[in-house]
Subunit: 234 residues, 2 copies
Amino acid sequence: MPPHRTRRRIPDATVARLPIYLQILAEQSAGGVDNISSEGLADLAGVNAAKVRKDLSYLGSYGTRGVGYDVDHLVYQIRRELGLDHDWPVVIVGAGNLGQALAGYGGFNDRGFPVAGIVDIDPGKFDSVVAGARVRPLEELAQIVAAKGISIGVIATPPTAAQDAADRLVKAGVTSILNFAPIVLSVPVGIVVRKVDLAVELQILSYHEQRRSVADQNGQLHAVPAERGRGATA
Amino acid sequence: MPPHRTRRRIPDATVARLPIYLQILAEQSAGGVDNISSEGLADLAGVNAAKVRKDLSYLGSYGTRGVGYDVDHLVYQIRRELGLDHDWPVVIVGAGNLGQALAGYGGFNDRGFPVAGIVDIDPGKFDSVVAGARVRPLEELAQIVAAKGISIGVIATPPTAAQDAADRLVKAGVTSILNFAPIVLSVPVGIVVRKVDLAVELQILSYHEQRRSVADQNGQLHAVPAERGRGATA
DNA sequence: CATTGTGAAGCGTTTCACAGCC
DNA sequence: GGCTGTGAAACGCTTCACAATG
């Protein structure tokens, strides 16, 4: 067997930052910037320069010592690493408030994730057009996934329907799921699930606000000088 | 100065899981379950039991050895720790597609984060009613924040307007921001920002799909037995 | 005696510090 | 000379393993 160079494993934390770098680099490129240092990119991304260099080093040695990184080349490499050299059609399960907003959001179609289908269980919604896609019955899910070669599914159902949606997506052959329902999905090993939960995000903010008010009561010093930092994603 | 017991610092990773535990515990409570073991909670939350015990230990020693945790008491303690013993009104900046969907989503109002205001820069949207809230001019933001005592702002503007929205929110007195715009915000130290970026989430999934297909080509073994696990949020 | 609470080990991520290189 | 690439140290989180205990 040839020693078919097994691809470097990139740490999860780095994978989560590559899209941010990519977005910034694409903007820079559009603005005519063709070279950037780790420090320059770090400032724009709200992280530190060593982290940028470590992260980029997982892609290979694409920088030039003493100079910096070629913006376009970096864009190319990150896109390749993230699998963004082709589109990934997605299917949305649930054509309610959220499903419709997602379909119409633009963030999908514009960024390489065209909405190739949207399904719902409610016959009242069938054939209504949501951002260019006709809403189809949930039963057609498997057919749509197969016909369009879909690997990524989005769950935008009420919480009670979300596990069923996940089961159907997996059975249909989808291997990655973006879940907007506030429940923990149970899926077979090997299926990648990411969850976006508004209530969780707000509750984390609430925690920080609550701490802040406790600190106020105790008359503690605030570590809040007027200095300005980027992206305090605490 | 009295040694006013400085509140335990809870690790970020734990804070991010408490809302999940809370949601599960609330469901259990509603279902008549009044006691739960770390293992039971862990299974439902898709984590391991040791993690649950460590996490809960930061709240204090509220379990009973040999027995487990009292569900209602845990709900109470987590809510208190997260600052959910009262509502946190939020203001949404941006009444477009996303802003409207968020306002109408229910996840806000139902879970202790009533939408106390929604503002936009477009006069064409003023006074239209979005999920019970009238859209007001961006200029009234500071007034709304002050009048309603708002600490949490939500940015649902296009990316180009997001930094301005953040600046206005901060100036108005908001100290926590949930940002849906795909840009890295620059805010003063002390302001907590959390970012939700659909494109980032999808690109992370894309990375995993891309790896999968590379592995397929190399004829590598898939680590994908038929076993079933909860919440593989890889 | 089942289950919690927690030191200690293990592991992944971040940051430092500087050698390597253009 | 300036900036990258990277071992090594530092850090924080997870998991283990077991003493403590209702």
